[in-house]
Amino acid sequence: MTDALARVEHAAVSLLVSLGVALIGVPLVLTLYLSVFDEKLILFPPHAYTLDWYSQIPATFGASIWTSLQLGITATAGSLLLGVPAGIGLSRHRFRGKTLISTLLLAPITVPGIALGLAVYIVLVFIDINAETSLTGSLAGLVAAHVMITTPWVARLCLASLATHDRAAEEAAASLGAHPLTVILRVTLPAMRPGIIAGGLFAFVISFENLELALFLSSPGVTTLPVAVLQYLEYHIDPMVAAVAVAQTIGIAVLLLLLDRFVRLGRVVR
């Protein structure tokens, strides 16, 4: 009786897991399949297979990939510079307006990206008009906007990594003669290492894949990969886009695997 029940239970779990894997896997596999069609239009079944689409990526999307890489790396650096100290401050100190700052740090995650993009665009235009700058459509404007949406992730992950860390270790360091700054460098930051690495990684991936903000802030010459893909899709429906998607997925997967060797990501992101 219980045996039968256990078997039903086991079967149910297996079914759900398979469904989940299929839900995630099928689109990926289909994209991979599509990317090797030797067709100008997407026809099924294809009459031949080719890797040509991949070799054409640099020529078609090289510039925008470069922009996205620059943007992702700068935005990650910026969000680490802001988010790590924010995490330490929020976790280790009490001050007026702490709740407000904590809420503000979460806000960019809760506001729809498209609304955020429009708002940033308006602000940049306003600044440009009044201060005679040219931030709109510049890489600097994009970086600023991306830092805004990536910093919350870094700060939150840093906060989480400090939540389990014993504060007494910092006090012990101080009693052993460590200056407050030395305590942060030698004790607090090492304890936050998994949070910092995971936060940086999240920041990069979010920046690299962001479309909504970039839609408003891109300009000819400063076009990110997602925007370039969208523009390409307006005029062509061919396996090229699938090839780019696969390349990007592989790139990020490799990054994740590399990082997993240094930090157990599963332990940081629960």
Binding site: D166, A168, A169, E171, A172, A173, A174, S175, L176, G177, A178, H179, P180, T182, R186, V187, P190, A191, R193
Partner: protein, 375 residues
């Protein structure tokens, strides 16, 4: 190396409206081990954190070797601290943990290595130098924490419930180890604990705290033999406390029970509290001479080394009696309902007035005066 003296003068520290430490003064002589003892929330840990410099007092002065350190940040106080949670640096090896304070002092590499070796030997962890803290047992981690604190030649060693996270058997070993190390090196030491036995075993002097105030300071025997108020009597030795009235004589009229015949006479009149330790109360049969009170056994618990009887005197008043549970002198185990008399001697009886100050026994004082006259 000369040991340091430490002095707290009228220290006050408030959290909001609440005074966690309320006018605490304490003089610690060089090489002494003083234990701050009390129930949780009594202010002992706050006092330790004030000494370490993690908190600043709202009033009062802390002096080390007669120089004020009240305004010094923790990293300039030269104090070694051992936490209940060990607080080792998880990313550094045992050796690097111990070397941390020396590196902060810019000690030469050779001297650091030598000192780390010496400390590892001291806590018998030579073979564990390259391990990470998480690869050690709780007791080993605590020894590393101790070595790390001692490595810097601290002027004062602060121990914050250092044994609470260890299991019972290990706790005793570690307590002895700490005491021997402290005595051998003559380091002025302040330890915080809520465990009375631990405190008694380690302390040169005890500071019993309650509600942010010092209740009594003295060697363990003094707190045991001459409690200065009912709280001390109850905390040390778990005394029975009976509140009532006294009218200049040998009778205490409890608020809610039959009269108790005291072992000594007292001149005081008014509200009074009686404290008698359970171990001081012997049980007799009804009609026995010198009975202080009479009651019936409500509960008998045999705990191996001791046997305890709860004696009910009235609907609202019970007293606990404890006697040896084994051996030739073992107290009999009495079934519930047995009528018994309670007995104790003058030295085991403590009486306090309405302000919780001790009331001296009249007869004892008179005999003392006579003796002085003869001499």
């Amino acid at each position: 190396m000369n040991a340091s003296s430490l002095s707290l003068r009228n220290i006050v520290r408030r959290f909001g409206a609440q005074a966690a430490v309320d006018d605490v003064s304490l003089e610690v002589t060089p090489g002494e081990l003083v234990v701050l003892l009390g129930p949780s929330g009594c202010g002992k840990t706050t006092t330790l954190r004030l000494i370490a410099g993690f908190l600043a007092p709202d009033a009062g002065d802390i002096r080390l070797d007669d120089r004020s350190i009240t305004a010094l940040p923790p990293h300039k106080r030269d104090m070694g601290i051992v936490f209940q949670s060990y607080a080792l640096f998880p990313h550094l090896s045992v050796a690097r943990n111990i070397a941390f304070g020396l590196e902060m002092r810019k000690t030469a590499a050779a001297a650091t290595t030598a000192r780390v070796q010496e400390m590892l030997r001291l806590v018998r962890l030579e073979d564990f130098a390259q391990r990470l803290p998480r690869q050690l047992s709780g007791g080993q981690q605590q020894r590393v924490a101790l070595a790390r604190a001692l490595a810097i030649h601290p002027r004062v060693l602060l121990l914050d419930e250092p044994l609470s996270n260890l299991d019972a058997a290990l706790r005793q070993d570690m307590a002895r180890e700490i005491r021997l190390l402290q005595q051998a090196r003559g380091i002025t030491t302040i330890m915080v604990t809520h465990d009375q036995t631990e405190a008694m075993a380690l302390a040169d002097r005890l500071v019993l705290m309650h509600d942010g105030k010092v209740q009594q300071i003295g060697p363990p025997e003094a707190l045991h033999l001459r409690p200065e108020n009912p709280f001390v009597a109850r905390f040390i030795g778990g005394s029975n406390i009976v509140r009532g009235r006294i009218d200049g004589g040998t009778q205490l009229m409890p608020d809610d029970g039959p009269p108790i015949t005291l072992a000594s006479a007292y001149r005081a009149t008014g509200t009074a509290s009686l404290a008698v330790r359970p171990d001081s109360i012997r049980l007799g049969e009804p009609g026995d001479i010198g009975a202080r009170a009479e009651g019936s056994v409500e509960l008998c618990s045999w705990l191996g080394a001791t046997v305890e009887h709860v004696i009910r005197l009235s609907a609202a008043l019970t007293l606990l009696s404890r006697g040896p549970g084994l051996g030739p002198g073992a107290a009999p185990r009495l079934p519930a309902g047995t009528r018994v008399t309670l007995h104790w001697s003058p030295a085991d009886e403590f009486l306090f007035d309405a302000g919780d100050r001790p009331i001296p026994a009249a007869t004892r004082q008179e005999s003392l005066t006579r003796e002085t006259n003869h001499a």
